[in-house]
Assembly symmetry: D2
Homo-oligomer: 466 residues x 4
Amino acid sequence: MNCDKFKDECGVLGIFSKTSRNLSRRVAFGLISLQHRGQESAGIAAYDEGKVRHYKEMGLVQDVFNNDILESLKGTISVGHVRYSTTGESHVSNAQPLVINYRGGSIALTHNGNLVNADKIRDELELSGSIFQTSIDTEVIANLIAKNYSLGFKESILKTVQQIKGAFALVIVCEGKLIGVRDPNGLRPLCIGKLPDGGLVLSSESCALDVVGAELVRDVKNGEMVIIDENGIESITYDDSKRVAHCIFEYVYFARPDSIIDGVSVSSSRRCAGKTLAKEHPVDADIVIAVPDSGIDAAIGFGQESGIPYGIGLIKNKYIGRTFIQPDQESRELAVRLKLNVLKENIKGKRVVVVDDSIVRGTTSRKIVDALKNAGATEVHMRVSSASVKYPCFFGIDTPNRKQLVGSSKSDEEVRELIGADSLGYISVKGLLESVGKTNCDMCTACFDGDYPMDVPEEVDKNMFE
Amino acid sequence: MNCDKFKDECGVLGIFSKTSRNLSRRVAFGLISLQHRGQESAGIAAYDEGKVRHYKEMGLVQDVFNNDILESLKGTISVGHVRYSTTGESHVSNAQPLVINYRGGSIALTHNGNLVNADKIRDELELSGSIFQTSIDTEVIANLIAKNYSLGFKESILKTVQQIKGAFALVIVCEGKLIGVRDPNGLRPLCIGKLPDGGLVLSSESCALDVVGAELVRDVKNGEMVIIDENGIESITYDDSKRVAHCIFEYVYFARPDSIIDGVSVSSSRRCAGKTLAKEHPVDADIVIAVPDSGIDAAIGFGQESGIPYGIGLIKNKYIGRTFIQPDQESRELAVRLKLNVLKENIKGKRVVVVDDSIVRGTTSRKIVDALKNAGATEVHMRVSSASVKYPCFFGIDTPNRKQLVGSSKSDEEVRELIGADSLGYISVKGLLESVGKTNCDMCTACFDGDYPMDVPEEVDKNMFE
Amino acid sequence: MNCDKFKDECGVLGIFSKTSRNLSRRVAFGLISLQHRGQESAGIAAYDEGKVRHYKEMGLVQDVFNNDILESLKGTISVGHVRYSTTGESHVSNAQPLVINYRGGSIALTHNGNLVNADKIRDELELSGSIFQTSIDTEVIANLIAKNYSLGFKESILKTVQQIKGAFALVIVCEGKLIGVRDPNGLRPLCIGKLPDGGLVLSSESCALDVVGAELVRDVKNGEMVIIDENGIESITYDDSKRVAHCIFEYVYFARPDSIIDGVSVSSSRRCAGKTLAKEHPVDADIVIAVPDSGIDAAIGFGQESGIPYGIGLIKNKYIGRTFIQPDQESRELAVRLKLNVLKENIKGKRVVVVDDSIVRGTTSRKIVDALKNAGATEVHMRVSSASVKYPCFFGIDTPNRKQLVGSSKSDEEVRELIGADSLGYISVKGLLESVGKTNCDMCTACFDGDYPMDVPEEVDKNMFE
Amino acid sequence: MNCDKFKDECGVLGIFSKTSRNLSRRVAFGLISLQHRGQESAGIAAYDEGKVRHYKEMGLVQDVFNNDILESLKGTISVGHVRYSTTGESHVSNAQPLVINYRGGSIALTHNGNLVNADKIRDELELSGSIFQTSIDTEVIANLIAKNYSLGFKESILKTVQQIKGAFALVIVCEGKLIGVRDPNGLRPLCIGKLPDGGLVLSSESCALDVVGAELVRDVKNGEMVIIDENGIESITYDDSKRVAHCIFEYVYFARPDSIIDGVSVSSSRRCAGKTLAKEHPVDADIVIAVPDSGIDAAIGFGQESGIPYGIGLIKNKYIGRTFIQPDQESRELAVRLKLNVLKENIKGKRVVVVDDSIVRGTTSRKIVDALKNAGATEVHMRVSSASVKYPCFFGIDTPNRKQLVGSSKSDEEVRELIGADSLGYISVKGLLESVGKTNCDMCTACFDGDYPMDVPEEVDKNMFE
């Protein structure tokens, strides 16, 4: 059922410590708290006295790592990565960290995001004789750093991040430093935490800071590179010419509710969106329920604002894993109920408001409305805590092409009809921005309005839209 | 963190169909919806034209079964089992269904519960030359049925269930029949469902009926045996002399909220208990939060009754599996945050009511109160939607011995002090019974008051209480 | 290619020590040296202060056991088993040791052989209420011992082995004793070894004694039970009324060449058979080659007697495991060459004598002759170091039914034609017996002449022969 | 016990077909017949309409590949590789084929051998900005090809193989061609085979040709590159200035006896060496035995020449795999007997000649002599079918450093004493060359005499020899 959601592509995490060489275990714990950002592969690299050791494999963090492996990854710097892949390239060679040897020694790179000029750079690099062993953008970045190395590691990374375009939150281990870089628009999140022993942490989300035992210090800024070593944090602003454009969907769906991203609590923003939604699309009803888990905060907010009691209407099975027994003809429709079952007692004879975070293809929404009506709901009012999704993302989010985005080709009324709800209300882009406490000067809302913060590659565009 | 809860021991499921031989796939789906009742081993047996094939293995349903295995388990009757084990005997030989050959052919047994006279019967059987290959009570039941077989299968089962004492919900395949039996007190749950094609289903909980596509017909009654075949259901009351004593903890913690057990919605009973709790132990506070997942319904109820807004305060990591990387000294305390992280934004500076379903040892409660205070809660009021647990269970629930039950040795005020809460309130046994809409004539509340519905074995008692 | 051979069904091994509790590791090593007797499942049970722990799984010894598992199997007695199964019942429940609890405590049984009255006893036991969880004869034996237990363990085992008929070499752990029993005909082998520390060993073959560090003391005699404890070996002759009938095929094919069975070196007997074969079926040729590995000794003997130089003509791939990539249409015939490739250089233009240990279906022989001719052999003379196999075995050897035994339905000349050889010579039964240094008073040669040492079950017979 | 041998590093195999796209299955079969050349990792790449798909993993061919994976590797060209690694770098990233994308598209490389100037080229490439993701020489070769690509694929490969120095047999898929290259000295073997359908095969050894169904056409010559496509074979001699220096150890130990390498049958050369050995070091004895498996041919030859009968004296366990249960203190010495057991019957009271292919450290030889004496051999005469190994190899063979080579630091008499034999005789280099039918103008015998066919890197040299 989750398959009808946008997919994030990665989570990154790095720790620098002056006192401990047992960081990889902490990184593994932290990665488990970032597991929602990518369930396909996991990897950790550790830097120890000039050497970089790493291990990566397909699977969840807990399946990839065990005590023996973590024990073999000692070091004073450790970085980790969880990955979700968008295409058939689910191959361990595409897992991260990417560890390479180059003139400057060994370097480990982890990357969340997507470059819009990766193909162009790759072509240029190939023309000059470079070879590529993976299909990830990170390898392009690694090559650029190596090419620029004569400038020294700091300048070579700075030059590299000025050459690449797109969304990137990078965590790099290089020459005994832990380095974090965020793209000039700040599209993908990256924050800094501090350990009790003075160690420093970089993470996609602050929830991982809690788990590794660090306090949130601040977010890395758009266009900023931070270099962490025993002297603390050196900050370099390498590009302050671009507008801030944090990804709105981190608040809508991707991030964990207990994370604080760019100064805003994800949970609060979602509850706030629920309240706004209640104001923008009021309805008379008996119960407000959520599509678990990502719709819960907004549903609670909707309940609080509207006065309609919040309750549980859909039960999510906690034991549904990734690999699954295929249903046969007879049991296909049962598979839905296996993942999400209606709590009939709470629904029967009631007018129900059901709050979801987004509608992508509409297929799941339809099944949910059906299930609620079958359970005896007299009315089903769908409320969506994001605006209607009309445009694909080029910045590290896996979105279907435009044809499959139901919001792109259909009016809200047509969507309502399609999913069979009695009413349908999306939060407005303005309302959503207010919920996050930001304006469209701070956020990327391109998936709603097509206002991309940079040029989108023509050919991809064409391919996507036709 | 869940380790500080009572543990259920099993879930059972059986389907009889006149039209389909592909039942095992449905049974697998159903077992996944009963997975919360046992995560240690899973098994399915299928009856096909007189033959019984089965497969069982350690692990979750989805790890044990794949399409090939399910394809090999064709048959017009299929029964399945999920098991949680209480001791070191985590061995596949103890997994169920137990499939045996005896004079009457092949028989497959699945059992949820615990016999109080199993050791005594086992001794008698061994005296007469029986051998035992497992350490499960089910093997005792199988031997009795075989011994009694000269009476015919129906009489032999009837005689057997009159010989055994304790808690049992049995689902058996024998001579082309699907048979369900519930113990004379009705301690463990068992319900009957009907498929659209007329097929019949037996299940520990009704949530599995939803998943296999069946409508809930009714519960098997205490002291009732049902025999299902192409003629429908034959009901035999084999013992109506005992008082009804359904397990109260199914409502408190074990069952899924979307199940209806003995006519009562689990979710409703929990919300109702939350309301009663708010009446019995009112408090002035800013937010009501739940210990996820089992405390959520009660917390919502508490909020509704008290008027204190319900919110999210603790985030549970969805990706914590059973096998886990061991934390080292440094990261031991982090492991708690990995499983359950505080959503600080919602807690900071607030007076918090935290609702949990039960307190067993008190260790987890203490960690939760600590974590909430560290996150800035000005007051933490613990409210518990079950009464204080003082006595061990002998009827199929894994409880620590009495010494470890904090409610057994300490007063409520001592427990409050131990866990560090500003106030502590348990629901009363009376209030809990009312929430379930039952009286102490219907329910077993022995874990609260020691009023066991039958004699408890002396030696076990001694062992347990000293 | 090996699939065209008779298959042994089991190897058994047991060690009793006064000084060590680390026996299971030795047993594992010993089982690896018995691995040729069964590659389907492996198991070990250890007796420690009254308790029996065990572990068994499908697979080779080295795949089933690791250091952690062996560490958990401490004890002063340890028994192990490797199994090959004849039918579809390749299920871990049929793996051995069979460990049961009965009135006398715990008992672990391992069994090599086959009972001819198992079904009859099983029926009787079922009539008296026994249940069966496996399809192995060993469970019948376990039930009889339990039934007879009121006599004491020694008498109960004695009574049991007098009730069962057929072939059996049993190694049992019971009441702190290690017990070995060989059937009244001595069909299956079992020998006794002594460790330097005074510990005692029972093994199917003496090659395992070498590996566990024991000296061969003697063979268990037909109709003998030995009871090993801290006082040494107690010997009981429970049946001396039957004629000795050791299995001739242990020398022909099953046993390892470095084993000494019933006083005769397997390797010597094979070389001797090769010499006799050269005398009985002389031929003018340029090279004698073996079908590896079991034909090598006989081929060397043939060369020594005939004066024709022995050489290597067929190379066996050492890396062919049990599970294998299925060949497609195009590559099916290649699969033969993968397992056994002709060393053309030694064959081209030569008259070749190829020595194999037996011909069962003839299919492999035909492929070998073809391959040799394709490689340029001018003549191929097949010499077989066993007599023509005409009758199935009922004593623990997996033989095809009589129709599939090419020697049963075809004359030697017809077989020669079938396999395409220029000449074909089997050793005579008399010659083979002489090679082993025994007479037909000592050996079972029923597979050659149908002279079974006991009544063969009618129904099986019928089924087999029609 | 095998650990006291030189280790080969790789086997390569490639098939080009005009008619079939199911080549990967054949390649897998072929790789199994090359498995003796490397048991650490296995991989296959398939070229299909411009795309290259590949799969590689740690483990034996049969463990790495299954039907599903092979089905996914369709294509008209398929290349495979088996690898043994010399150092700790047992990492899947070092497995082959190495598949890269570069300006010219996709290319798959497999390599057997070792470059002596890889570090130097790697440094130069890194200076120009190249990055390296593995620690294998093959990645250096790939980079060079990419750098040289402006010349076209043919010229770029030609230029590349002129830049690299050392030992290499390359099989490459590139632009729809299957390309084979052998180093200017012809150190590592590579031969060409022809399929019945006109397809062409490249293989390290001809035994794989038999398995894939091809006829041996000829060997690739030293300094030759062959380009195979639908037009057949194009041959280019890119360097004819170097002396031929085929590796003598392919005949001594590495290659399978049924392979023909550079026109000479491996089996014949070994038997011939055994005969020469008998002439050079005659001895009066009762039996000639081999250290299995590689000493068998020479032992047979020794027997034929000397008239001493050849027999079996040591039995090798067929079921000893790579990963193994660790012996504890008590059982450490048993581990030897587990791998290699003495057939006492053939040894007792006899004067034994034991033929081994080489002595590296001498530790295994000592154990074998001890075991034979313990078994009752009155004399043990060690005969070695290679000369005394005194110098390390730099051309793709894993040899210990010079200190550990017993032949380097000790006289033959000292070695004899060390291993405890009654006499010791190595074949002379001259005698060995004659056995292969070659002269020292054709062969590399540097491991015996230090006469390396090219400059050996200074620093490695220093490191090795001190």
